[in-house]
């Protein structure tokens, strides 16, 4: 499967709508077999979505993303794991370990949107009791051993 990570200065780009770089990863058998960086226009939603579609990822891990752009990508059948924050290698490791999304790698203020726990202690990587347990499980993407989304 192909995974795209929107990156900036070694971290996940804070806002995908204007992100200029994406790291493309080919994952096979639970290992990254190929990785290369690609440029994005970062100018408007349609150009951004078209560029991502041309790269053909199965999933995109990015930071904040506006609703219209997320809708465009959904229409193009690109799975988006939004509001992710952190070091690129940490995020990739979390993806491979099937622990993405998780509170430690989620942007501030976004846990509630995703149904993940929030507040003090969220940054320590522990999953805390979630008030919206049912929604929380519905929203979580799961990744199998091969690194594919289920």
């Amino acid at each position: 499967m192909k995974l795209a990570l929107a990156t900036w200065n070694g971290r996940i780009s804070p806002l995908f709508d204007v992100a200029r770089q994406v790291l493309m990863l080919d994952i096979e058998g639970g290992r990254v077999v190929k990785r290369h960086a690609e440029s994005l226009p970062g100018t408007n939603s349609i150009a951004q979505a078209n560029s991502i579609m041309a790269l053909g990822p199965d999933a995109l891990v990015c930071g904040a993303i506006s609703k219209p752009l997320a809708g465009l990508l959904a229409a193009m059948r690109v799975r988006v794991i939004p509001f992710t924050a952190g070091n690129v290698e940490e995020v990739l490791a979390a993806w491979m370990a099937r622990t993405l999304p998780n509170p430690a790698l989620t942007m501030p203020g976004c846990c509630r949107q995703r149904g993940l726990c929030s507040g003090a202690g969220a940054g320590d990587g522990n999953r805390r009791r979630c008030h919206e347990k049912r929604r929380c499980h519905e929203n979580r993407d799961t990744v199998n051993r091969q690194g594919n989304i289920r």
């Binding site: 806002l15 204007v18 930071g63 904040a64 506006s66 609703k67 942007m107 203020g109």
Partner: protein, 480 residues
């Protein structure tokens, strides 16, 4: 976390920052948030305890963070940034317009310890600005009406998908423009956009036109000819007036839409069609299905996404905007210097019913350009019967009693007709007058109602001109 604010800014400053409506945050030398005021919490939707200690770009998520950070600029140059426009995306994915100002934070000895960023929520200002001057524009389509805005909002998503689109709307509402706009923002935009008017061609000709033919398929077929499906390969095929095609052709079209395969006329090989189909009609297709004139399965195949283009009379707020748009376009095309339309002209344009919709308005403006080379378009530049026809309903206060009575009568008749779906008998009943009286008044007041309404529509189906049925004069401004 409150201590952070106290530590950096002192209790007095903290109290002030908590009371203002602008968002304020401060960062240390590692660009991590050290304080976050109440308004910043409200605007971003992020709690202070979640924000403090995090990289500012991951909390603020502004369009300028990555390429043109205002605070970084201030730290580097020592110069403040004031009211720079940007947008942020909150946790719900909403884009919020803001303006940003920056300052450097120094300690008692004048050493730089960090920076402060102030931001103001401009979304309300932005919304009001749109209300006042806002126009939505995609391709050649311009509008400020709420009904069109709904269409514009979903267009990017429709364009990005591969689903068939059915555009419904009266003649002249801009169905082809909408189809082109969808194509131009779609991933297929670099491939051809091919438009076919299905109502303009006889059935047998349309079949060969759509699917092409091979040499010898019929007398006169001297060589192979690719069809419109082949010409639109990789792009978009726009089928206008889809409601006019024969049942036999409907079956062939259904097969292409379902299997993406077709055979040229007289050919034996099957061709694959990588074409997105956008169809349009002015007909009521469900009614056609009930009559057995249109296949239900084809309708559902086309009707994956349906867009209803409202007629111009239902979005009158667009008339000044469109008139201005056409004036600008004809000025460019014809090298003229027409500055606009006079208030009288605008009043007449606003009062007109536009059976020919946007195309009719465009033609009225084009006609005015023939007579007017510069300055403003005056009533004398309009078609005489346009002014004559609309003068009665638009009679202003201050006119004679007779003129005002006529205007009120015209308004009452229009209201009743619209309320009753242009059924004259029902409208007469509503008004408490005999239908003959209503007919006489419609004629006397010079009122014109939509062409495809009531009995006129049924007669139109039988190719009888509406004017013969209603006794109305065909409108000169009606060019559609």
């Amino acid at each position: 976390m409150k201590k952070d604010i106290d530590k950096n800014l002192g209790p007095g400053t903290n109290a002030i920052l908590e009371s203002i409506s602008d968002g304020v945050f401060t960062v240390d030398s590692d660009w991590r948030i050290t304080s976050f005021n109440r308004a910043a919490e409200t605007i971003t939707g992020i709690r202070r305890r979640e924000a403090v200690g995090k990289p500012c770009s991951e909390v603020f998520r502004a369009s300028m963070c990555e390429s043109d950070c205002a605070l970084r600029h201030t730290v580097k140059t020592g110069r403040q940034v004031v009211n720079r426009p940007a947008f942020i995306v909150d946790s719900a994915g909403r884009r919020i317009s803001i303006s940003v100002s920056t300052a450097i934070l120094k300690d008692g000895k004048g050493r730089m310890v960090g920076g402060a960023e102030t931001f103001r929520d401009l979304s309300l200002v932005e919304e009001l600005r749109k209300e006042l001057t806002g126009r939505f524009e995609i391709g050649d389509l311009v509008s400020r009406s709420a009904a069109m805005r709904d269409i514009f909002d979903v267009m990017p998503q429709i364009a990005a998908s591969e689903a068939s689109v059915l555009i419904c709307g009266e003649t002249g509402t801009g169905k082809e423009l909408l189809a082109r706009a969808i194509h131009n923002i779609s991933p297929r935009k670099r491939k051809p956009f091919v438009a076919v008017n299905c109502g303009a061609l006889p059935d047998t000709l349309l079949e060969s036109e759509l699917f092409g033919y091979v040499k010898g398929a019929f007398t006169g077929a001297a060589k192979d000819k690719p069809g419109r499906f082949a010409m639109a390969e990789g792009g978009t095929l726009f089928l206008d007036e889809i409601g006019d095609i024969s049942p036999a052709l409907q079956i062939r079209l259904l097969r292409v839409l379902q299997d993406r395969r077709y055979e040229p006329l007289g050919g034996t090989g099957t061709l694959f069609a990588d074409v997105r189909v956008v169809a349009a009609t002015h007909c009521d297709l469900p009614a056609q299905i009930r009559k057995g004139a249109f296949r239900e399965d084809l309708f559902y195949r086309l009707n994956v996404v349906k867009l209803d283009l409202p007629p111009l009379r239902k979005r009158r707020e667009d008339i000044p905007l469109l008139a201005e748009h056409f004036i600008g376009r004809f000025n460019r095309l014809q090298g003229k210097a027409v500055t606009g339309a006079s208030p009288d002209v605008m009043a007449l344009l606003m009062a007109h019913e536009y059976p020919g919709n946007v195309r009719e308005l465009e033609n009225i403006v084009e006609r005015a350009f023939v007579l007017c080379a510069s300055g403003r378009i005056e009533t004398g530049h309009l078609p005489p019967d346009l002014a004559g026809r609309t003068a009665a309903p638009a009679a202003p206060a201050g006119e004679s009693m007779n003129a005002q009575t006529r205007a009120i009568e015209a308004l009452a008749i229009r209201d009743a007709m619209e309320r009753r779906g242009f059924n004259r008998l029902a409208a007469a009943r509503d008004l408490g007058i005999h239908k003959s009286t209503l007919f006489r008044k419609i004629k006397a007041l010079g009122l014109v109602f939509q062409k495809h309404a009531g009995r006129a529509a049924r007669k139109a189906d039988l190719n009888v001109p509406a004017s013969r049925e209603t006794g109305e004069n065909p409108p000169a401004g009606h060019r559609s």
